[in-house]
Amino acid sequence: MAFTFAAFCYMLTLVLCASLIFFVIWHIIAFDELGTDFKNPIDQCNPIRARERLRNIERICSLLRKLVLPEYSIHGLFCVMFTCAGEWVTLGLNIPLLFYHLWRYFHRPADGSELLYDPASVMSAEILNYYQKESWCKLSFYLISFFYYLYSVTEDRVSLRCHQVFSSGEDNNRHFKY
């Protein structure tokens, strides 16, 4: 079949990679939101604002937590697909991030059922900075890989077409032209 499994993989990952990029952008916005506080410092000291702020932090953190597993599993799916397709180079490019994700998942703070993004500690500048850096790095990684997948798809397409041209040439050779 002309349309190889690898090409399918690339096309699927292209779509999913776009979603991952959106996830990461959402992360970046969320961290930015966490980092910026109320403009009016008097508001900050207000107990009512405190409640709002806390709810805000908790809401953002719970949303962030909800995105953790989808992101990790989508990326895991990439790796599985590339393994199946035998795209070793692409797999090799993705393996480091896979291991990082696994490490993050199993090295989360020993906080019982919760995943990452603990509302109690997320506001600590050190941790917030780390998260921010992490999401920027991921964004760049996903963007690069997006274009890589795009390239791979088109190349695959091109090679497919060449193959078709070539094979059609063969077909032509087998028949006489009238």
């Binding site: 207000n46 107990p47 405190a50 806390l54 600590s124």
Partner: protein
């Protein structure tokens, strides 16, 4: 001259029962609104005198906020509004609790109404509303049956409730008051008071203790609030009659005095006395203070009279418009200063004259000023210059080209900050700075002295270690925040992160922001001056560019000085913004205007949640607890709005209806713990004053109610949820008493401890929480301004790691009493009683936030303590209590080369128990240095150790205990090897440390042997966890004692070198190194580990000691479990007792004293604390040093 200063510090921490001074001034001359600047100067009681002291608290309403003043009508709205609501079964659901909060908002107008101490004449303060509240008649006991829960009134009530009330409070409090009125005590640490410039100026001129006069003169000035007439006369008379030199009642005089003495001393010469005093020196001086006090007091009396005569002769008819008598005295004092400083207003507005740091400056000011007509005005001119020293030295440095040339070669001197104002140079200033230079060089060479650790045998100084001196100019240093409140690990801040990395030392701050202070200027002003861009509060380290502009010292923005700020209400003069108290003291408290609150300040609300399961009843804590509550019910901090409630729980949750009008409390039992609800939300949290009889009845009957319970389960989670529902409308404090593992309902926990693994690393696996229920609960609480304090009284494992989360994130505190039992463990019972008392009546602040700002270029990245981090620099503290400390870690983002100093400001905004919004501001100023050597010079080894301890706690929770231990060891190895490679040029084989860090290895070793991080010996998980909690929350002084206890030999106590506190002579034995070789069988040794003390008696200890101090005939007859020292009528016993009680008074909670014999059960505990010795599993100090050396050479 430094001794008077330091003893003055000691004096400032007096346990003097002086009156809080109220001070009101309404300017009648200045073109200002009369709301401007009303200054109240208040004696904050030093609360660390736990037992005796606490009793006096109500006397000091300002400081402790627990006097119930009848005049103060906080209105009775809050609870009564809810009374109107009809009761009924549907009320449970129909009345959401927020409604209750809404109903209480009518108080908004009146919450500002202050009691008489706070200028009640301020126009924007609405006077107390004389609310005539109609109390709806209360229906008799509820007889509704609620769906879903069973409801009963136990028969116990009906039988017990007819008993007449016995009010025990007067009986108990009276003797203590007497005791207090005749004694004053100083804290053990000398020189830990405020570094108030004023003290300096008081002492500098006269020899010795020139603050005596002020105390002596006290009889004229201090008059307490009119509602406490009994106490103050007695206290005042005790001070004068006994001639107690150490009481400092008058802060007006002392904080912003004319500073006469400084005249004789130009600041050049002032350099040496600002040096950090050698600790022994202040002991000597304070010891000598008493005998000398007579003549000196007279001297000072004279001084005081001078100012008073000035008052009388002052032309200004400044009659205070305030109505209090005491104000007249103070107004007199103030008018004296205003009259004297009125010459200052005519001074040219330039820094050269303001600085007065040199003769040239003085002469220039003298020429520019109108010629002083009399000596006193010229005196004040000079004094004026000295009292405003803030940022001048840096200017001078820049200004003098010679100096800036010499600067690179002068390592001890901070580089000058950028030029802000007109340059000014002259020879005298140069010489003054040069003199400072030589002084600092000397200081530095002393601090840089290398210590060869392996050769130095006696490394521990015999007196408590002080915070090392920074290389700040003396003027700035004496303005700086007290090291007890605010301390940095590096007193000389490195210029860049690269430099910090080179030094391999952590940069961080240790704070104790809400510490009980003896002296705190409180400022009521309609505008609080803050930087417009970074919102920094104005502080002593800002620079005034001219009279109308000031430059923020954190963000360098130039701000305008508001019109109101130009007026100085202290001196009643105009045009002296730099003499306002805000720019004279580094620790001030503002009473916030209404801008700082959108809702009325919350009332004090206390909810007590008691475990009444079988286990709890067995331990017998409930009886003690209720007894203590009964005794201290009137002393709970709060105002007329104070509310209180009780919940008990076993496998069900019990509520107590205490609605006013009931004949007896009603118990409501909710057995449906899966979905807990609150049966009658309105009547469970009741106004303490209206329902006091019911509350008392309940407390009397509560211990007996559950004596025959068979219920073993503990539904802590549901009880907490119910408590949260009750409290969420108002915020407040939940005190949870728990005695076992929560076994049913949400938040259920299981035993995670393997007793066989206690001594191994594996045993410390479960340091993180098992469930996130408690954390989420704490976060909810934090959002609703509720703090949860946990008292864990448990014999067996209760998973403190999980339970502590409820306090950790809600800014509460944790108390742990292992193996508590009312009969078997009397020592713990005593500690629990005393601690609970302190806990109940200590100062409290509600709905607090704390923000720590630092100079641009520095940033805070990690916080340690109990709080919720709401923003990257904002800590949300539902409650703040005076016993909790905080730590932060910082990094240097941008180079600080532009400035010579950096500043840190911690601002704590809270609602006092009186319903006032207040802001307490601490500012710390530190120099910036550019060489590693200077960084090492300023390293504060105690602060570094404490910061590392909190970091190690985090590491052991997030990673593992062994990682934390390795990190601690590496911290020493790294810093010492960095020191050797960068500064020291000695040969390889010698292990050297800078003098400032000579104890670093010892402290780290002590830390490794501390309960929290110890391995090898059996430690219960809960105890380890509790030690870790303490490390995160204890302030530095206490934490250091926990890490490295003090050991004293006390069998031969003499009065040599003793200090005098009040009429008591406190012997001061030298601190010994923690090694068994220092012990001798002939002696008796006291080890002070902060929360416990061990009195170890050698086998051959002289029978006279045992006889005279312990009251036993011989060594053999001393019982094994002795935990009290009898008060015997022998000299030695009195000395020992006064020493021990002096140690105990220096801390908020009781230290149990265990007498340790060779066969006593606490023997191992005692010997484990001898950290320099080898144990089966831990290295000795010498081996540890060898290990470090090996690591460095690797």
């Amino acid at each position: 001259m430094q001794q008077p200063l330091s003893s003055g510090h000691g004096a400032s921490l007096q346990k003097s029962s002086t009156a809080p001074e109220c001070h009101q001034q309404v300017p009648n001359k200045a073109p200002l609104r009369s709301t401007a600047g009303q200054y109240d100067f208040i004696n904050y009681q030093n609360n660390y005198q736990s037992s005796v002291h606490n009793i006096i608290r109500p006397v000091c309403p300002m400081s402790l906020g627990d006097t119930q003043e009848p005049e103060q009508m906080y209105t009775t709205l809050s609870m009564d509004s809810s009374l109107i609501v009809p009761r009924g079964p549907n009320m449970i659901t129909a009345r959401p609790q927020s409604e209750q909060a809404f109903l209480s908002t009518p108080q908004q107008a009146s919450y500002i109404t202050s009691d008489e101490h706070y200028c009640s004449q301020v126009p924007h303060n609405v006077p107390s509303q004389s609310t005539t509240q109609v109390f709806p008649p209360h229906s008799a006991p509820i007889n509704h049956t609620y769906p879903g829960f069973s409801y009963q009134t136990t028969s116990v009530f009906s039988t017990q409730y007819n008993a007449p009330l016995t009010s025990q409070h007067p009986a108990t409090s009276q003797p203590s008051l007497n005791a207090l009125s005749c004694q004053t005590k100083a804290l053990p640490k000398t020189g830990q008071g405020h570094t108030q410039p004023s003290f300096q100026s008081c002492h500098a001129g006269t020899t010795g203790a020139s603050w005596h006069p002020l105390a002596g003169a006290s009889t004229t000035i201090p008059t307490g609030p009119s509602d406490n007439p009994v106490i103050f006369p007695s206290s005042a008379s005790s001070q004068t009659s006994k001639g107690s030199p150490l009481s400092m009642p008058h802060h007006i005089n002392q904080s912003y005095p004319p500073g006469r003495p400084n005249v004789a001393k130009p600041p050049v010469a002032a350099a040496p006395f600002a040096r950090w005093p050698p600790p022994s020196a202040d002991r000597l001086i304070s010891a000598s203070a008493t005998p000398a006090s007579g003549s000196e007091a007279q001297d000072g009396m004279h001084c005081g009279y001078v100012s008073n005569t000035q008052v009388n002769s002052a032309p200004s008819p400044l009659s205070s418009t305030s109505d209090d008598e005491d104000d007249d005295d103070e107004a007199g004092v103030d008018s004296s200063s205003s009259s004297s400083s009125s010459t200052n207003t005519s001074l040219p507005n330039n820094y050269d004259s303001l600085e007065g740091g040199s003769n040239q400056g003085l002469s220039s000011s003298a020429t520019k000023a109108p010629a002083p007509s009399d000596p006193s005005s010229s005196i004040t001119t000079k004094q004026f210059g000295d009292a405003y020293p803030t940022l001048q030295p840096p200017y001078l440095k820049i200004a003098s080209p010679l100096h800036s040339v010499g600067q690179p070669t002068s390592p001890g001197y901070p580089p000058g900050i950028q030029q802000f104002t007109q340059p000014f140079s002259n020879v005298n200033q140069l010489s003054s700075s040069m003199e400072g230079l030589s002084f600092q060089n000397k200081q530095q060479s002393e601090a840089l002295k290398q210590v060869s650790l392996l050769q130095e045998h006696n490394i521990l100084p015999p007196v408590p270690i002080q915070c090392p001196p920074s290389s700040l100019s003396p003027e700035l240093r004496k303005l700086n925040c007290s090291p007890d409140l605010f301390r940095c690990t590096l007193m000389n801040v490195p210029q860049t992160q690269a430099l910090l990395n080179k030094a391999k030392l952590p940069l961080g701050l240790l704070l104790h922001p809400f510490r009980d202070l003896t002296h705190l200027p409180v400022i009521t002003s309609s505008t609080i001056v803050r930087c417009r861009s970074c919102r920094t509060y104005i502080n002593p380290f800002v620079s005034f560019l001219d009279q109308r502009r000031w430059k923020c010292n954190l963000c360098y923005r130039v701000n305008d000085v508001p019109e109101e700020f130009m007026y100085n209400p202290l001196t009643r003069s105009y045009g002296e913004p730099h003499k306002r108290p805000e720019v004279q003291t580094a620790t001030v408290e503002f009473i916030a205007s209404s801008d700082y609150m959108l809702r009325p300040p919350q009332p004090a609300v206390y909810l007590f949640v008691f475990d009444v399961s079988h286990n709890a009843v067995e331990s017998g804590y409930l009886n003690i607890c209720c007894q203590s509550l009964l005794e201290n019910l009137d002393k709970l901090p709060g105002d007329s709005r104070t509310r209180i409630g009780f919940i008990t729980f076993d496998s069900t949750v019990h509520f107590f209806n205490l609605q006013e009008g009931l004949s007896q409390p009603q118990m409501l039992i909710v057995s449906e713990i899966e979905d807990i609800f609150v049966p009658t939300p309105d009547s469970l949290l009741v106004n303490l004053h209206e329902s006091k009889e019911l509350v008392k009845d309940l407390l009397k009957v509560l211990p007996t109610m559950f004596t025959s319970t068979r219920e073993t389960h503990s539904a802590l989670g549901p009880a907490l949820q119910a408590a949260f529902k009750l409290m969420s409308a108002t915020g407040g404090r939940i005190s949870v008493f728990q005695t076992q593992l929560p076994s049913i309902g949400v938040g259920q926990l299981f035993s995670r401890e393997d007793p066989t693994q206690r001594s191994t690393i594996k045993g410390a696996l479960h340091l993180g929480p098992a469930t996130d229920f408690y954390k989420k609960f704490a976060l909810d609480c934090s959002g609703q301004q509720v703090a949860v304090d946990l008292f864990l009284l448990s014999g067996q494992y209760s998973d403190l790691a999980s339970l502590a989360c409820m306090s950790k994130y809600s800014a509460g505190s944790v108390f742990y009493y292992p193996s508590f039992h009312h009969i078997h463990n009397p020592a713990q019972v005593e500690k629990f009683q005393k601690d609970l008392k302190r806990y109940l009546i200590r100062k409290i602040g509600f709905e607090a936030v704390m923000r720590i700002r630092c100079t641009k270029g520095l940033s805070i990245h990690t916080f340690h303590g109990n709080f919720f981090v709401r923003s990257t620099d904002l800590l949300s503290l539902a409650n703040i209590n005076p016993d909790s400390g905080f730590a932060v870690q910082m990094s240097i983002d941008e180079s600080l080369a532009d400035s010579s100093i950096v500043c840190f400001q911690a601002a704590l905004l809270y609602t006092s128990s009186k319903g006032e919004r207040r802001i307490r501001v601490h500012t710390l100023c530190l120099p910036v240095v550019s060489s590693v050597a200077e960084v090492y010079t300023g390293a504060d080894v105690q602060a570094i150790t404490c910061l590392l301890a909190t970091m190690a706690v985090d590491r052991s929770v997030s990673s593992s205990l062994s990682d934390a231990r390795d990190a601690l060891i590496n911290a020493v190895v790294d810093s010492l090897s960095a020191y050797r490679s960068t500064v020291s040029n000695l040969q390889q084989s010698v292990l050297v440390a800078p003098n400032s860090l000579r104890l670093f290895a010892l402290y780290i070793l002590a830390l490794l042997k501390q309960q929290a991080f110890r391995t090898g010996s059996s430690i219960r998980l809960d105890e380890r966890m509790f030690a870790m909690c303490e490390m995160k929350t204890q302030p530095l002084v206490h934490l250091m004692l926990m890490i490295h206890p003090h050991l004293y030999r006390i069998d031969n106590l003499s009065n040599e070198g003793s200090i005098t506190v009040g009429d008591k002579i406190i012997p001061q034995p030298p601190i010994m190194q923690l090694s068994a070789e220092r012990l001798s069988k002939e002696g008796a040794f006291l080890m002070d580990c902060y929360s416990v003390m061990y009195l170890w008696i050698g086998k051959n200890c002289s029978s006279s000691f045992i006889n005279e101090v312990l009251g036993f005939s011989s060594y053999a007859s001393v019982p094994q479990n002795l935990y009290q020292l009898p008060e015997l009528n022998t000299v030695l016993s009195q000395r020992v007792n006064s020493f021990v009680s002096w140690l105990r008074d220096s801390r908020p909670f009781l230290s149990i004293i265990y007498v340790v014999k060779d066969d006593a059960p606490f023997k191992t505990n005692f010997f484990q604390k001898l950290v320099e010795d080898r144990t089966e599993t831990a290295l000795s100090y010498y081996e540890f040093l060898l290990h470090i050396q090996q690591q460095i050479c690797k």
